[in-house]
């Protein structure tokens, strides 16, 4: 599958905006990604090993948090996983 890397994290992924991984589900795909690019780990996960609250993961067009299987959801070679940090603020 293809994992799309957001602008701020590309420097930790060899400058790439997309990384191909071979994995059976979302969690495994993230593990494969961070195994290849260990510097990504602290940006994606908190100290407990969970995905940071502001990091959104979209499997194709679906928020992984709302998928029945969550990060255990199966993936295939044609799927895409987008890593999207949140955008918010205000005065």
């Amino acid at each position: 599958m293809t994992i799309y890397i957001p602008t701020p994290l590309r420097v930790y992924a060899g400058g790439q905006n997309a990384v191909e991984v071979d994995a059976p589900n979302v969690a495994s795909a993230l593990q494969a990604l961070t195994a290849s690019y260990p510097d990504l780990r602290k940006h994606l996960f908190n100290g407990d090993g969970k995905v940071r609250a502001f990091v959104n993961l979209y499997l194709n067009d679906e928020d992984v948090r709302y998928l029945p299987g969550k990060d255990a959801s199966p993936v295939n070679a044609e799927d895409t996983l987008s890593i999207i940090p949140s955008i918010a603020g205000g005065c």
């Binding site: 957001p6 701020p8 987008s82 940090p85 005065c91």
Partner: protein, 154 residues
Amino acid sequence: MGILHLTGAVYRAIRAHGEETYPHECCGALLGKSTGEGWRVEKSIPAGNTRTDSAHNRYQIAPAELVKIERGARQQGLEIAGFYHSHPDHPAQWSPTDFAEAHWIGCSYVITEVADGKAAVTNSFRLAGETEETKRFEPDTIILEEESIGRPGV
């Protein structure tokens, strides 16, 4: 300090967006290319503000919309260079909320003060640092590609 190049069209569009949504905050994404010392923004993409509960002083872009914006950027050979939003009747300076909610390190956050419905000062701040723990905002110098429309920050 970084340099943010904006075309006159982008500059006008993001300020007009702030006037359109006044007294609510507007928001959107900036697409462009890295220059090494900052970004050259080629397009602005307006987004919906999902904070309808407090739209006068808060904004949020739906992640699903961001996914589509980033997909569009990729297809055009552009990157997400940053984001913009407005501060209705509030200075064009980043707020504690802006800082706490800023996670796109290396990207520029453009803020326009909209006073009494009219766009006033526009400033840009680069989210510098390496991690959430060391991030900080640094002011950008905005360079307009069309000088005839006036300088930002004035």
